[in-house]
Assembly symmetry: C2
Homo-oligomer: 346 residues x 2
């Protein structure tokens, strides 16, 4: 019996992933149904339904223009049709739509289905309890969840430049199958049994990337930026140890850890917006609208969420970099405070 | 009794360090003699002795032009005068001149002196025995040796942009004093009792930076480069475990580890030369002469040295990245083989 795969979310990231998954299942006909469904919100582009346009042109002209999607990717805005017979659900919607999307598909999926989340973000509720996407998915859908994360800037993934990714699983038996969903020569996947570390790294690295962008905006060089990345990396490790549970230290050396951090600090959108923020005159929200064309910025939001958790536990002093990113992005401190805080440590 | 500090080597790196050390001793008059000697080879610039020029203009016009050196840095080409009363010798000569320099000063130094090497490189002798600068210094001078290493691109250090560094010591008691030689608000030093890891990281990172430069030359993006840095980082860790001794894993998260690796892979000269190498027509040696203005390139040489050690122990397969850098830089393989090797792993 072959497994059916569906990608839930047809933005730039879901579409980039479809390039990898489309090739992967085609290479492994003994394991997978070679047709992969791609669910996306109904919308029109130049008077035509986007899903129909994708199926005709094999290109997501709105969210991933210029990239040929594999012919075995079948786009649809019919959620029941997309998820109903799927054995593996790859979740790639923006974080703010995740709960609603899960509520739309609950009851429509196979009870044996498993989910892989590719969504990065942390929410902290009023009681200080933290929540990542796998928790939301599991709570609403009540199925096993894994997480994919790595040094995966979407356009480069879509162009099949060599890269790596990490899948964190809860259950040993899901690992090898999920690896096969994605693993191709240009996209290498390692599996670790450390779901939470994989997910939290994906969210926390965006905060560090904000600091890296501030360094760039302040016109400091590679030494300062490397120091900021290192200090941020240690704060990520400590945060996960202190708030999440016992991580395997090896997970931080996987693609989801140090490699994703490096990629995001040199090429991600958090870096870009925070660099522009230093140059002044506009808030993070204004720059987000101006520079990102509708994509959401996770770093400042995640920093604010974490700051709440740190304050509640009296741990602000232990996380100077995360704290400083929050204070600067929320305009409580000037950007140059980042350097002052760094120089004043110890 | 205050300690006297001498910097042995007045190239760009020794001169950049003098900016830090000059400020540091000035801030700590209770610990250090505020006059710091800087030894350099006798040479003339525009008909004037370089040491005299430095002492008059407080600028090393030949090797670090445009940077004001502290007034308490006293340059001289008289080696006996420079090292004779020094309690702390900071070694900053190019690796190929280290043994000769040590032979020149043996017998002229205080028996209680200690050395800090800032020289990065590995030599492998005919029997496959590896040797780093601290070993050479200790063998010839027979004094305790520590090593300074970190994300320290010389011009940025000289401009006092915030950065970090690591000192690896053999003897606990040297750590705090040596930290004080360098530690100022813009140059943060951590001490670890793991001399060898600090030194080997400094040499091995140049090999990984060659791979990063090849990725840039091949026009691959951040995902591929981050993957190469990650894979290289793991090969560095494994190499040190297998060939050097039991490292503390924390040392790899110090500035001498991951931060220096990142800085070198994005801004170092090994990266630059290997990027140009891909674009063809010239050997590494030709590019070294053309692009580096007399500075030596360590990465390809270190890769060749390590390859000998790997072959001897039958371990070439375990280090695909180091091996590939050696094969490409020595023109046995085409640059694009790097990507093929990456894609074919596992």
């Amino acid at each position: 019996m072959v497994h059916k795969v569906t990608i839930v979310g047809g933005g730039s990231w879901g579409s980039a992933l479809s390039v990898i998954v489309g090739e992967s299942v085609e290479r492994k006909k003994h394991l997978f149904d070679t047709s992969v469904k791609l669910w996306l919100l109904r919308e029109e582009v130049n008077g035509e339904d986007l899903a129909e346009l994708i199926n005709r042109q094999h290109e997501n002209v709105k969210y991933l223009p210029g990239i040929q999607l594999p012919k075995n990717i079948i786009a649809s805005s019919d959620i029941a049709l997309c998820v109903g017979d799927a054995d593996i659900l790859i979740m790639a919607v923006p974080q703010q739509f995740l709960a609603k999307t899960c509520e739309n598909i609950v009851g429509k999926i196979k009870p044996t289905a498993i989910a892989v989340t590719t969504i990065k973000g942390i929410e902290v509720d009023e009681k200080g309890k933290m929540c990542v996407s796998s928790v939301i998915i599991q709570k609403i859908l009540n199925i096993p969840v894994a997480a994919l994360n790595g040094a995966n800037i979407a356009p480069e993934v879509a162009e099949k430049h060599f890269c790596e990714a990490t899948i964190g699983v809860q259950r040993e038996q899901d690992g090898q199958l999920l690896k096969q969903v994605f693993n191709i020569p240009t996209f290498h996947v390692n599996v670790v049994r450390d779901l939470q570390t994989v997910e939290y790294c994906g969210a926390l690295k965006n905060v560090v990337a904000c600091a890296a962008g501030l360094v760039d905006g302040l016109k400091f060089g590679t030494n300062t930026k490397s120091a900021v990345i290192r200090i941020g990396f240690l704060e990520m490790i400590n945060f996960i140890k202190q708030f999440v549970g016992e991580p395997s230290m090896d997970t931080f050396h996987e693609s989801c850890g140090i490699a994703d951090l490096i990629a995001t600090c040199f090429s991600g959108r958090n870096r870009k917006v925070c660099e522009a923020f230093v140059n002044g005159g506009r808030t993070i929200e204004e720059l987000e609208k101006e520079l990102l064309g509708g994509q959401k910025l996770q770093g400042p939001y995640t920093a604010a969420q974490i700051y709440v958790a740190l304050e509640r536990r009296g741990l602000v002093d232990k996380y100077p970099l995360i704290t400083t990113v929050h204070k600067i992005c929320s305009q409580q401190w000037e950007p140059k405070m980042l350097i002052e805080i760094l120089c004043s440590q110890k």
